[in-house]
């Protein structure tokens, strides 16, 4: 059983700027390798790398942990909050585009299982391969039965043109 994958379509939005909270990260090593693997995939397609953002990490981890504890897989939590609302609630801003991938797996190599699953799904692949994203947050949590829950947030902090020639 590979798991289920959920992706949020690219959706432009504007938010505020703030520092995110510090989060407990028991799977920091797994998250770091996952982030490297994603960037390796992007590099192979001549896409800019995703820089990890501690505030986004905290939001992604909180959602992964929530899914693992309450045993659900969705972009919308039981309180009805979607990823943008969670990002807004954390006071994170300055972004113009955002997306989220989520998944779960109970396989031995969870990073590869999740990544291959996302790459096999057009919607998730679209988020992984979206050119404008330049920041990311990765969250991994594990349920009591050993199932891994993954959340990855992708956002664009736009670089305005150095000079718009007119």
């Amino acid at each position: 059983m590979l798991g289920f994958w959920i992706a949020l379509l690219l959706s432009p939005f504007t938010a505020r700027t703030a520092e995110g909270p510090k989060a407990f990260a028991p799977y920091a090593g797994l998250e770091a390798r996952f982030h490297q693997d994603v960037n390796q995939i992007r590099n192979g397609r001549h896409l800019i790398p995703l820089i990890r953002d501690a505030s986004l990490d905290a939001v992604a981890r909180a959602h992964a942990r929530d899914m693992a504890v309450r045993r659900y897989l969705s972009h919308v939590n039981p309180e009805g909050q979607n990823p943008l609302q969670r990002i807004h609630s954390a006071g994170i801003g300055g972004f113009s585009l955002a997306a989220e991938n989520a998944g779960l797996t109970d396989k031995a190599d969870p990073n590869q299982e999740i990544l291959q699953g996302w790459l096999a799904s057009p919607l998730h692949r679209k988020n992984l391969h979206a050119p404008p994203f330049n920041r990311t947050g990765v969250g991994i949590a594990r349920a009591a039965d050993g199932t891994y829950y993954y959340t990855q947030l992708y956002v664009t902090v736009p670089r305005e043109p150095a000079e718009v020639l007119r």
Partner: protein, 282 residues
């Protein structure tokens, strides 16, 4: 095992007999041939032959009507033909690529108005003019399209200058051309690949050695779209190729947007994470 093999053979024989029967019937009811201009016809009555001095050809001797649709042999043969350095057509094309993209001098009044925006010369390795799904354009048309992109900037500026260590390295310009859009859509429709969304042209001009990949994203309202550079119905290069560009090189390409994109409304154009807010048809 044996019975399985026999059963397979009997099915193959039945299928083959059916094929022969169908072929014979079709052969008796059609007239096919080739006109002196190279066009082909398949008709039912001799009176419908569309040209004088037609050569009647049996259907099974007819060349494929659209050989580029054949999956392998034709494409493979054409690839080698286009790559063959001894093919005189490739040599000619290389010379054209180096020499023919100097646009004609503009009228004096126009030069005075637009002297700050000279049309760049296009250089680079010889490029095939059309691939399956791409648009066929002449050398003159390429020069015209580059000029259209530049001149459109006055009415609908969509220009992005990328700097590297404080000095300009890449200039991107996008524009909508109704003429090119019509031509492109007609071309795709004739190949059974209708497209309905707006078609944008872009140029990427290297002002220093730079790597360019067409990582464009277009966002309008709550939808965003990034073209798949491997799908000719979403993206194509008319001159040059993505990758490393030498200083002074200009590449020209197109992007097909989803039908829902309204060019009269503001669009956020991203190249990687560089953003530009424009209205392409103000």
């Amino acid at each position: 095992m044996k019975s399985s093999s026999l059963r397979g053979r009997s099915i193959a024989l039945v299928a083959f007999a059916t094929f022969l029967f169908g072929w014979g019937a079709a052969r008796a009811s059609v007239i096919s041939g080739v006109c002196p201009d190279g066009s082909m016809f398949i008709i039912k009555n001799r009176a419908d032959i569309p040209c004088a001095a037609a050569k009647l050809v049996a259907p099974d001797d007819m060349p494929p009507i659209k050989p580029e649709y054949l999956p392998r042999p034709y494409g493979w043969q054409r690839f080698h033909r286009e790559q063959d350095p001894n093919n005189p057509y490739n040599l000619l094309e290389g010379i054209e690529t180096q020499n023919a993209y100097q646009p004609p001098p503009a009228p004096i009044s126009q030069q005075a108005t637009h002297s700050e925006q000279p049309v760049p010369s296009v250089s680079g390795p010889p490029q095939p003019r059309a691939r399956d799904g791409s648009i066929q354009v002449s050398d003159q048309q390429i020069a015209d399209l580059i000029q259209i992109v530049q001149l459109t900037q006055q009415r609908a500026p969509a220009k992005l200058e990328i700097e590297n260590n404080g000095s300009p390295s890449l200039r991107l310009q996008l524009a909508h051309s109704r003429g090119f859009e019509t031509q492109a859509k007609r071309s795709w429709a004739s190949r059974g690949m209708p497209a309905t969304g707006p078609v944008l042209l872009f140029t990427a001009e290297a002002m220093a050695p730079v790597v360019f990949h067409p990582n464009f994203t277009f966002a309008q309202g709550h939808t965003a779209f990034h073209a798949d550079s491997e799908d000719p119905k979403q993206f194509g290069m008319l001159v040059g190729r993505p990758g490393a560009l030498e200083a002074g090189t200009t590449v020209l390409g197109y992007v097909v947007l989803p039908p829902s994109v309204d060019l009269a409304q503001p669009v956020d154009i991203y190249w990687n994470d560089h953003r530009l807010a424009v209205t392409l048809r103000p």
